[in-house]
Amino acid sequence: MRLTKQKRLSGQKGLIGAFVRSAGYERRFLAKNPWDLSMVLWIPLATVLLIWWIFSQIQITDLPIGVMDKDRGPIANTAVRYLEANPNLTVRQLYHSPAAVEAALLQRDIYAVVIIPEDFSRNISSSKPAPIVLQVNAQYGTHSGIIQTSVQSVIGTLSAGVEIQRLVKQGMAPSQAAIAYSPIGIQRISLFNAATDYQQFLASTVIPALLHILAMVIGATTIGRELRDKQIGRWYDFIESCHPDLTSIEANTKNDKTIIASTSAANNKTFITDNKPRKASISVLLSGLLGKYFWPTLAYSLWSILALWLAAPQQAVAISSIMATYVGLVLLMMLSFWLGAIFTLTSFSLRMGLSSTGFISAPSYAFAGVTFPYIAISDSAKHWSDALPLTHYLKLHIAQLQMQAPVAISLPIVYGLTLATVIAMFLAALLSKRALAHPERWGAR
């Protein structure tokens, strides 16, 4: 019964027919090609979960440091105790020789060493400044940043204590001493993501970046393999008029379990090579392409829900913000499909399409201005960053999900992504038309 329904659908005329036949063609292909299917299903699913899992311990704690206490006085002891009590740090070992410290740093047993000099107590008792030295492995930027702020706050507390005690000894009331020590206090407040939650900061932004990469790869392969296998003409004939009836041909090859059967070599046996140029209709091509990318679009719409479901529940985010972000993410996915297709179709080569896709999408997170802020990116690189759709999506993502900005602020990005998607889709259709007119260039590897 299912089969007759299928026959009926694939017999439909016009644009809907082209869409349905193309989607059916793609479904049969994906069912037979586990690698391509996994790019649509398992790999993105596993990637989303893996990234979330990597950052499941949302804060960085217990970074190993060393202490070299040359003073051994009571205040130096307090300093070591404070360092140990800080949740971001853990004092791995007390060192006695600089050589041992250096070796430990080079072997990455510790990422920093706090050195308390010999005359530390003496300086404090004689009311002189008694500096403490922090040597930190600045090559490991994340580690170093957290160690610096943590040690700074520990030593700040220690210093305030010493100072206040000194003032109290001079006869000041303790409450007054605290004010005298620091006449203008600072309330430091982090708006949004106050807990410095790395899952919110990194995982929630890396996931869309990875889905974007995967979607561009799918965009390149879905149309690219038809070019490589010289099947794009037959695909077009099929979606336009249902001739040749590829449903039955493919059903026959279904028994042949080989993956290789779908690659160029074997295809030439299974299908009749047909290299005549075609004058394609843009509207049929558009419907056909939408049908061809129907399954990835459906799947990536689901993965987008998963990505946002993971990223959103931490705070009460307005439903309108979530909707705007979701629309933005789905648009980014569709735009990625078309961009991948465009790279392949302009070069007539799946390999070249994948190379360009990888070259542009893989480092796009570095240009997106999340880890290294956009304002600090060099001026020339800013143009590149502006040209990447991911930059704009992540701006929307952070504004809506983390900064709780009003939706209106991010709507221009949604409009921009919509426009870009529509343009890219038409461009992909036009380039497909061109590809169909040049069969002599099919089959490039």
Binding site: Q57, P129, N137, A138, Q152, P373, I375, M403
Partner: protein, 409 residues
Amino acid sequence: MSMLQKEPISAKDSTLPEDKLSNTPSDSKDYSSQSFLHSFVQTIKDVFSDKGVLLLLLIAPIIYGFFYPWPYSTEVVNHVPVGIIDKDNSNLSKTIVRYASASPQLDTKRFLNEQDAIEAIWSDDIAGYMIIPSGLEQQVLSGKAASVSVLGNGGYFLLNKNVQMGFLQAVSTVSAGVEIKKSVAQGAYSATAAASTQAVPLKIIPLYNQTEGYGAYVVPAVAILILQQTLLMSTAMLIGTWYEQRRHATSIRGWLGRIAALSMFSFIIGCFYYGWTFELHHYPRGQNMLGSLLFLLLFCPTVATLGCVFGLWFRQRERSMQILIFSSLPMFFVSGYPWPAHQLPEFLQIIRWLIPTTPAINTSVQLNQMGASVAQVATGFYALAGLWAFYFILLLLFRWRTPQSKTGY
């Protein structure tokens, strides 16, 4: 599906791609006796006659050497746009504003109220702001507790840090000035008073990456990742292409020859990174050059061997790119470099060692940027040697399970 499943090969006519991938149609000769040297030379010839492999193996990593450091060329984050809301409008508050404006870390703008400032944050015009409450000067002068508020955008960690540190320094300086004035008024000499504002000052000495540049932190590690990914994909592409042409089979010596040839290309690129890219961007480099070269000598064949395994697994020219392009970011995050390894879930802490970059990134940075001795990074070398052996065994398994030629099927 078992990855080692034997596949029936349908009779095929090897329609070779247009771009002259195959040079010798006489490839059906006996592979079992292929020598190391012959295989080595043949692989080099094939790399140069296959523009797809050449692009990935040699040209892409060279372009990346310029492209990837590009956004970070300013290295440090300065002149972060911030807002100031001065509700006090006193001499003291004006001094604070002046100090904040003079800070190289900040680029200040005045706002009249908090709503305007928040809206500026939402549209990314500023990264944070400071509120100076009304009556600040009065409170300070009468010796009451007083404070200003600094609000940074926690959505961007690095910006937030800059906002907090920039304002902290400005306000502390002014605060210390107030304290000194008071002490002097109470009869202390101003020199002693100034010195005693911080009883225990902290002196921070950044080691290795002394300028604390962002590119200097991230690029030396990513360079190793780029090396791995381009070598993996190009190797798997070449082997996959050979499989399609049924030229994949060879002796164990032949495989070693292929691995040696492919590693050689990446070794040269590695030298290019160590000697040229890092130099060009003034990153810390060459602290232990001999150790770094030894590392490349082990790392490149390890990755090339894994690439051969992938080639026999994927069995198709373009498959390696399709499957591996996305993997760079996850591999980087489990390497232990940007994110401390002990923070990872325990299971990931173990399986991450199956990826070459896990020991490789740290080993390379320790040798080349930090100047560790080879003995100090011995664990990394052992891990890479272990991986190489493991991948080679996998390769032998795949070799054994993969049909050697079309005859016999």
